[in-house]
Structure formats: structure tokens, C-alpha cells
């Protein structure tokens, strides 16, 4: 188990390097000269040349990459072209805000999805199953930005029950555990939890049904175990698959949703990405994508370790 974990940790080094390489390449893949975004197309040639040297674009690509890597490793993600502020600081704030939404959406979506899926799988073909199938189908099919807008129109505009925009009154850009903050989080959290709820419920249902269909469940009954103990065995067998689905879904949630954060004016990573794309703010874009990519890699590592802890068959190879 220990060597397995160690090997998995070593594996992420090349993967993480690959992420930095892709992100670095972004500057050169994106159409147009990156310097145009800084000085505009009409700038005199010598100014552009001067900037090119200042940004290090005159160096050969491998050297540029190594310089970039050095900066990343020391926590320097560059400065936003649009605001001049360090990317790392803006990104940190946005990540914290998105974290609020994603943890909330995970709590709501994962618990309801897991419960719904487990019940449906246990009573496959029954009334609960049919109800759950319809609910999850709606969950994964309804466009969430549309759902967000409907919720805003009904609950905020018509009924005036919940706030529709921002994190707190007065356009505050940080989280706090106050009633106001919680009220502001309700609608985006619900909107965001619908898709993971559907996906989690569907895969939990399939896994539970699959495990229940296996012969060892009958063998457990044949040795005299009652409902409770059999259920415990089923849960232990379902857990590895469910953990990996939850991990992946949490990864998607962490990326924030451009659409949801835009609909609700929530200053998270999705909001930031949206801004960076529209303003062609390459350093901000790079920093955000790099961070989200690394989070995803890390999350996968955690999922792998959790799976190996839960399923002895995973520990080999």
C-alpha cells in the first residue's frame, strides 16, 4: 500500500509538468502576437521590440519554458495584463469563492444523488427507481444556466425570497458565515448541484444494481447474514466506484461554472476565466487554467489512493 501511494505520487510529477507545458504553449497557440494585447497594434516597432525583450520573448522557446517553470515553482504566476495585479492573488480569491460554491453543491448534489441512486439500485424496477430515473434524467438534461435563470425569476424576482446576484449585499467579494452570505449562496448552489446529483445518482444506481446482481451477495445470504450485514458488504463493494465518480465530479465543480457564475455574478474561477478570455488577458488565463489543471491532477491522486484503500484489487500493478 505504501509503495503504491509513493508510486502514484511520483506519477503526478510528469503529469503536472505536462500541464505546465500545455499552459505555456497556450501563448503561442492563441492566434495573434501576445504583445498586441499589451500595447495594441499601432505601437511603434522599437517599443514592441523592447517589450519583447522585457517579457523574454526573444529567448528560444525551451529557455522561455524553463523561465516560466521557474516562476511557477516559486509561486509567481505573472501579472494580469488588464489590471496589473499579480495573477496569484486574484486567482486565490476567486478559487476561495468557487470553493464555497463547489463544496455547497457537492454536499447537496452528492448526498441527494447517492441516496437516490442507492435506493433506486436497491429497488430496481420499483416505483422509487422509476421516479429516480426521471429525476436524474431531468437533472443531467436541463441546461443549468436556464435553470439558474428560472430560479432567479421565480424565487428572486417574483417571490422576492432570495437574493439573485453576488456573494453579499454591496458587491462584497469575499465569503463569511453570515446569514446574508448563506442566503446569497442558496440559488447558485442549488443550480450547480443538479448535474452532479443526476450523474452521481445514475452511476450509484448502476453500481448498486451491478453489485447486487453478483453471486457473492447470494453467498452472503447463504451463510446466514441478514439484511444489515449484507448491506454493509454491498456498500463496501460499491464504495470504490462511487468514490471515483464523486472525485471526478468534484473536480468539475472546482473548475467553477462560467455560465452559473456569470448568471449569479459570483466572483469565482469561472467568472475570472470569462474575464480573461474576453480581455485576452493571457497571464490570467494561463494561471487559472494551470491551477485548475493541477487541482484536477491532485484530486485524481486522492481518488486513486482512496480507491486502493477501499479495494484490495487496485493495490496491485
Amino acid at each position: 500500500m505504501f509503495t503504491y501511494i509513493l508510486r502514484r505520487i511520483l506519477y503526478i510529477v510528469p503529469i503536472a509538468l505536462g500541464v505546465t507545458l500545455l499552459v505555456f504553449g497556450l501563448v503561442h497557440i492563441a492566434p495573434g502576437d501576445p504583445l498586441n494585447a499589451v500595447v495594441g497594434p499601432d505601437a511603434p516597432a522599437e517599443v514592441v521590440e523592447q517589450l519583447r525583450r522585457a517579457y523574454g520573448f526573444d529567448q528560444p522557446l525551451p529557455i522561455q519554458y524553463l523561465i516560466y517553470l521557474g516562476h511557477v515553482l516559486t509561486g509567481d504566476l505573472g501579472q494580469s495584463v488588464a489590471t496589473g495585479r499579480p495573477v496569484a492573488a486574484d486567482l486565490g480569491r476567486a478559487l476561495a469563492n468557487t470553493l464555497v460554491l463547489s463544496i455547497g453543491a457537492a454536499l447537496v448534489g452528492f448526498t441527494s444523488g447517492t441516496l437516490l441512486g442507492a435506493l433506486a439500485g436497491w429497488h430496481r424496477g420499483g416505483l422509487v427507481d422509476r421516479f429516480a430515473t426521471i429525476l436524474t434524467l431531468i437533472g443531467v438534461s436541463v441546461p443549468h444556466y436556464w435553470l439558474g435563470m428560472v430560479l432567479v425569476i421565480v424565487l428572486s424576482v417574483e417571490l422576492n425570497l432570495l437574493p439573485a446576484m453576488g456573494m453579499a449585499p454591496g458587491g462584497a467579494a469575499g465569503w463569511g458565515f453570515t446569514g446574508e452570505h448563506l442566503a446569497h449562496a442558496v440559488l447558485p448552489v442549488i443550480t450547480m448541484s443538479v448535474i452532479p446529483m443526476g450523474i452521481v445518482a445514475r452511476s450509484v444506481r448502476a453500481t448498486v444494481a451491478d453489485v447486487l446482481h453478483q453471486e457473492f451477495v447470494q453467498a452472503l445470504r447463504a451463510k446466514g447474514l441478514g439484511r444489515g450485514p449484507v448491506l454493509r458488504h454491498v456498500v463496501r463493494n460499491v464504495a470504490p466506484t462511487v468514490v471515483s465518480v464523486l472525485g471526478l465530479q468534484f473536480g468539475y465543480l472546482l473548475g467553477g461554472s462560467i455560465l452559473i457564475e456569470t448568471v449569479f455574478s459570483w466572483p469565482g474561477t469561472g467568472f475570472l476565466l470569462n474575464e480573461a478570455i474576453f480581455k485576452r488577458d493571457i497571464p490570467l488565463l494561463q494561471g487559472t487554467i494551470l491551477m485548475l489543471g493541477l487541482f484536477f491532477v491532485l484530486l485524481n491522486l486522492l481518488v486513486d489512493i482512496a480507491q486502493a484503500a477501499l479495494d484490495p484489487r487496485m493495490r496491485r500493478s
Binding site: 453471486e215 453467498a219 447463504a222 451463510k223 446466514g224 441478514g226 450485514p229 458488504h233 463496501r236 479495494d311
Partner: protein
């Protein structure tokens, strides 16, 4: 406590049918037999003849929603199908236990062998888990698993097929059952390992004076282990007798057909005769003898009504209109 003369198991008029998408499949169509303590009965037949379903019905393991079960199953004088589920759980694994065909599928993949055996002992005997694990170690040694102590901590996927089946047997024997049901316990194993497992089962059966119902489609297995043999076809016993009677002088053409389609000694130079056709569709059984469409001796009486049980002598039965005139044994 019932005295030694009452049969351990007494089955009468057992029927099982399943609701399927294509209609009702009649898997068991009236099975009657009794089993004494320490007796070994082999259920012999092709796939789909109802052998495995019979075993599961005896343990009340069939899915209740999809199956209809009729008749009575008395285990130690108690009717299995009128007991409350709680009470039945106490019998499963203790008075009656089962060895499955494919141990890789029948063992829980995420628990160690030791845990799975100990769990059963704790369940039925209420001892501490540590004591149960000690008993599990004894059991693994009893089924001749080498370096048993290490195997206690092994997961099913870390063991070979033969080793897994030994562990499965240890699990089934963990609470000294009076009746062991073995569902083709050697079918999934290599030929060399098959014989070892059979010998082990026979040795344990004799040591523990256990009754065993062994399901198999292998004549050799039946000859090797059985006191009595019941030949099954389309959910009925078509022939019943001592192993010697059934194998030496088969009365039902199906039994004879099974024997002539089996490879055994001194057959070099003889062509194997396969039984023509396939087992009947259980959702549409013929009104007469279910074997008649494949039977070389079929006559008008066979297709009119199911042939009655013909008792040639006590304990010797064949369900065939020709049962008085012995079918020549094909050797």
C-alpha cells in the same frame, strides 16, 4: 430434538417457477425425496435441468418477488417455507450451507478470506471476532491450505482457483452443518485440482458425518462421491436409485444417453453418442414426457401424459413408460 430415524431433509411436491419476459418458466415440476443424516445424494443432469434451482430452493435463497414456490421442504422436521425469515437466517450457514460453483464470484472480493469465515462463525455462535479468527485458521488447515496463517489475510483474487474453492469449503463447514449443498463444486477447476477437491469433500463428509447434496453434470463425479443418484430432466427426477443401480442398470433412456455421451475407461475405438436435440424450453413444456422429443424409444403413450413414477423396488424409481423393461446399458 428429532431422533435419528426422522430424515434430515424431506422434500415433497417441490415446484418452482419464475416469471420471465417470455412467460412463466417452470424450473422445478414436482420433486420428492428424503435424505438421511450422513448420506450423499448426487443430482445429475444437463444445464437447465433444475439442479441448481433445487439447491437454492432448499435454502430458500430464490428471489421472492420473481419466483413461485410450491410443496414442502422439511429440514429437521421444520418447514423451511413457513419459518419467519429471521429464523431461516439462523439455519443458513449453520444447519445447511452451500459451496458454490465459482468461488471467485461467490466470495466477497474486498474482504479477506479470514474475515469472511470468521464473520460466519460470529454470526452463528456469538463468539468474539478473535476467537472466530482462530477457528478460521483451524478450518483452513482442515481443508489443507498450505501456510494457512498467511492465507487468512489473503483476498480471494490473491489465491488460485483450487485454493479459493478450499476456502469456500472451509467457509461452508465453519459451523458444522448437518447438510452441505455443493453446486458443481469442481466444474470451474482444472482437471487435476477437481479430483483433489472431490477427495477432500468426501473425506470431510465422512469425518463430520455430514449429509451432502452434490449437483453435477459429470458422471464421474457422481460415481466417485454418491450414495444415491437422482437424474434430473426438465425439473423432475426421472430416475432415482443407489449409485450402483443407476450407473449399472439405468432405467431411463435419458440416463443411458448421458452415460453413452460421457468419456470413460476402455472406450478407445468406440464413437461417443451425443444425445440429439436440446433440453426443452421451460416456458413451454410438452404435455407428455419432457424427454420424448429426444428419445429414441418414444411411443404414443409418451406424448399423451407425463409418465408416472414407476417404483421398481423401494428407493428405486424411474419416470418412464418402459421402466419395467430395462433399457440396455450402453457401454
Amino acid at each position: 430434538m428429532p431422533d435419528d430415524n426422522t430424515p434430515l431433509l424431506s422434500v415433497s411436491g417441490l415446484t418452482v417457477s419464475f416469471r420471465t419476459e417470455r412467460g412463466t418458466a417452470s424450473a422445478i415440476n414436482g420433486v420428492d425425496f428424503t435424505l438421511k443424516r450422513g448420506e450423499v445424494l448426487c443430482l445429475l443432469g444437463e444445464s437447465g435441468s433444475g439442479k441448481s434451482v433445487t439447491l437454492r430452493a432448499l435454502m430458500r435463497l430464490l428471489p421472492e418477488r420473481r419466483s413461485r414456490i410450491g410443496g414442502t421442504v422439511l429440514l429437521n422436521g421444520e418447514d423451511v417455507y413457513t419459518l419467519p425469515e429471521r429464523r431461516m437466517e439462523r439455519l443458513r450457514g449453520k444447519a445447511i450451507s452451500m459451496v458454490f460453483q465459482e468461488p471467485m464470484l461467490a466470495l466477497d472480493p474486498v474482504y479477506t478470506i479470514g474475515h469472511q469465515i470468521a464473520e460466519t462463525i460470529v454470526r452463528h455462535e456469538g463468539v468474539s471476532f478473535a476467537d472466530a479468527e482462530r477457528r478460521a485458521l483451524d478450518l483452513l488447515e482442515r481443508v489443507q491450505i498450505p501456510s494457512a496463517k498467511r492465507r487468512l489475510k489473503a483476498y480471494p483474487h490473491e489465491m488460485s482457483g483450487g485454493m479459493r474453492q478450499r476456502a469456500m469449503i472451509a467457509l461452508a463447514l465453519s459451523c458444522n452443518p448437518a447438510l452441505l449443498l455443493a453446486d458443481e463444486p469442481t466444474t470451474a477447476l482444472d482437471a487435476t485440482v477437481q479430483m483433489q477437491i472431490l477427495l477432500l469433500l468426501r473425506q470431510l463428509q465422512a469425518e463430520l458425518n455430514m449429509a451432502v447434496i452434490m449437483v453435477t453434470h459429470d458422471m464421474g463425479v457422481a460415481a466417485e462421491t454418491a450414495d444415491r443418484i437422482a437424474v434430473m430432466y426438465a425439473g423432475r427426477f426421472v430416475e432415482l436409485g443407489t449409485a450402483r443401480q443407476v450407473l449399472k442398470t439405468p432405467q431411463h433412456p435419458y440416463t443411458a444417453g448421458l452415460m453413452s455421451s460421457t468419456v470413460h475407461g476402455n472406450m478407445r475405438g468406440h464413437a461417443l453418442e451425443a444425445i440429439p436435440g436440446a433440453p426443452p424450453d421451460l416456458t413451454a413444456l410438452p404435455p407428455g414426457c419432457a424427454y420424448a422429443p429426444r428419445c429414441a424409444y418414444a411411443e404414443a403413450a409418451c406424448t399423451a401424459a407425463p409418465p408416472p413414477e414407476t417404483w421398481l423396488e423401494p428407493g428405486r424409481m424411474a419416470r418412464c413408460v418402459r421402466a419395467c423393461a430395462a433399457v440396455p446399458a450402453a457401454v
